[in-house]
């Protein structure tokens, strides 16, 4: 039986052929970044709390502690979803929102004249004046934000559970 895919366009365009591969690449890179970022932090609870404290955000202490405890696991969970390719678009949206919040945090630390490490991949806390790396941190997050953006636009990728479960894929 013919699939609607072939009905729509008998010959896939070059874009249609390479798009799933690009999306797969974006998905896996984002997954790896989240898993590494979270994984490096889950083992050192206090450091993670300190990294959040270092931003000196106007939040209650309890909330700062909870963020320090929960954020690494949140990143791991997000990484697992992307790795499995499950709920790809929602995971990409959450990634983009998180990255935006991180960038606002880093930019605000910079603007307030703090000299801290972002604590993105473990570590964090104060660093010597002049050793803060805000520009490269923001550039890295911008790059990741682009990957997330692509994935929101074109979430369909190879080797994903979404594909297995997708009700439109083969009907």
């Amino acid at each position: 039986m013919l699939s609607t895919e072939t009905l729509r366009s008998p010959v896939p365009t070059r874009f249609e052929r390479i798009q799933p591969w690009i999306s797969t690449g974006c998905r896996l890179i984002l997954a790896a970044v989240w898993l590494v970022a979270g994984g490096l932090k889950v083992g050192s609870v206090q450091q993670s709390v300190q990294a959040v404290q270092a931003y000196e955000l106007p939040l209650p202490d309890v909330l700062v502690t909870l963020i320090g405890w929960g954020l690494p696991w949140f990143e791991v969970a997000l990484g697992l979803l992307l790795l499995a390719g499950l709920l790809t678009r929602p995971a990409a949206i959450v990634s983009a929102i998180s990255l935006t919040i991180f960038m606002i945090g880093v930019a605000s630390a910079w603007a307030r004249g703090l000299t801290i490490d972002c604590g993105c991949f473990g570590g964090g806390g104060q660093v010597a004046p002049g050793e803060a790396q805000y520009v490269s941190e923001l550039l890295r997050d911008t790059g990741l934000l682009l990957l997330a953006g692509w994935l929101i636009w074109r979430p369909r990728s190879l080797f994903s559970l979404d594909r297995v479960a997708d009700d439109e894929e083969n009907s």
């Binding site: 072939t6 270092a54 320090g68 929960g70 806390g125 479960a165 009700d167």
Partner: protein, 254 residues
């Protein structure tokens, strides 16, 4: 134009004969299949969301436990050196007339200080116990509120005469948040029981002036980060130093 005729037209265009009675059944089956897939997908999404929730909530629960459980001090250090602390002057472990001095500037919350202590702490203790060295300890406190309370409790323990074991205990359990009850519990663990003066010193930040003076003096002396090690006043580069090298520099067995 109805949906059906539209679909038939599409099929015709693709060279397939329009729907007849026989493949109406087929369509119904396809519809059932699609429904099942939809249901499977829904299940998968629910499972995914549950897994995500479990990971995050479980992670927070684990962190809570790791942070707030009672401390678990290792064996106490052998020799203790009680002393009355003087502002701007460090804690000194060891005999006053020991010929060599190793000064360690640390923050109880600094990750590299924890690494240093894990890797070299016992060698420093060994060197001090050998009588050739005394160990100046400068507990700085710039890494947040618990840095300060830990440095204060350490100072309290030094005055009570169990500072060396306490120092070791603080580093050993670095995953704790070290609230007051944990700081008090550590005192009891390393010393059996503690005098009430220790409790009030911890709870009322009795050594906060001394703690502040240590940070200021260290900074004035050009200490820019922790851990900083100075041997007989000369700065000692920790970069790439192996355990064997460090032991050799202190003249002890690794």
């Amino acid at each position: 134009m109805s949906k059906k005729t539209q679909a038939n037209k599409k099929l015709k265009k693709a060279g397939v004969s329009p729907a007849t009675g026989s493949n109406a059944r087929e369509r119904a089956r396809a519809q059932a299949q699609a429904d099942k897939r939809k249901k499977d997908r829904f299940t998968l999404i629910v499972v995914a969301l549950v897994v995500v929730a479990v990971v995050i909530v479980g992670g927070i629960a684990v962190s809570w436990f790791q942070s707030t459980r009672s401390p678990d001090a290792g064996p106490a250090s052998g020799n203790e050196y009680a002393q009355d602390l003087i502002v701007n002057q460090p804690v000194v472990f060891g005999e006053q007339d020991a010929p060599n001095t190793i000064s360690i500037y640390l923050d109880f919350r600094c990750p590299h200080c924890i690494d240093f202590e894990e890797e070299f702490g016992d060698l420093v203790e060994k060197a001090v116990d050998g009588g050739e060295w005394k160990n100046e300890v400068w507990p700085m406190s710039f890494l947040g509120p618990s840095s300060v309370t830990m440095a204060n409790a350490f100072a309290c323990s030094v005055e009570e005469g169990f500072g060396r074991s306490y120092h070791r205990g603080l580093f050993q359990d670095y995953s704790l948040e070290w609230n007051n009850s944990q700081l008090l519990a550590l005192g009891e663990q390393v010393n059996g029981s503690v005098p009430t003066s220790f409790n009030s010193c911890v709870q009322n930040m009795g050594q906060s002036d001394w703690v502040a003076s240590i940070g200021a003096t260290a900074q004035a002396d050009g200490v820019q980060g922790t851990p900083t090690v100075r041997i007989n006043g000369e700065s000692y580069d920790l970069g790439g130093v192996t355990r064997e090298q460090f032991a050799a520099d202190l003249g002890v067995q690794p």
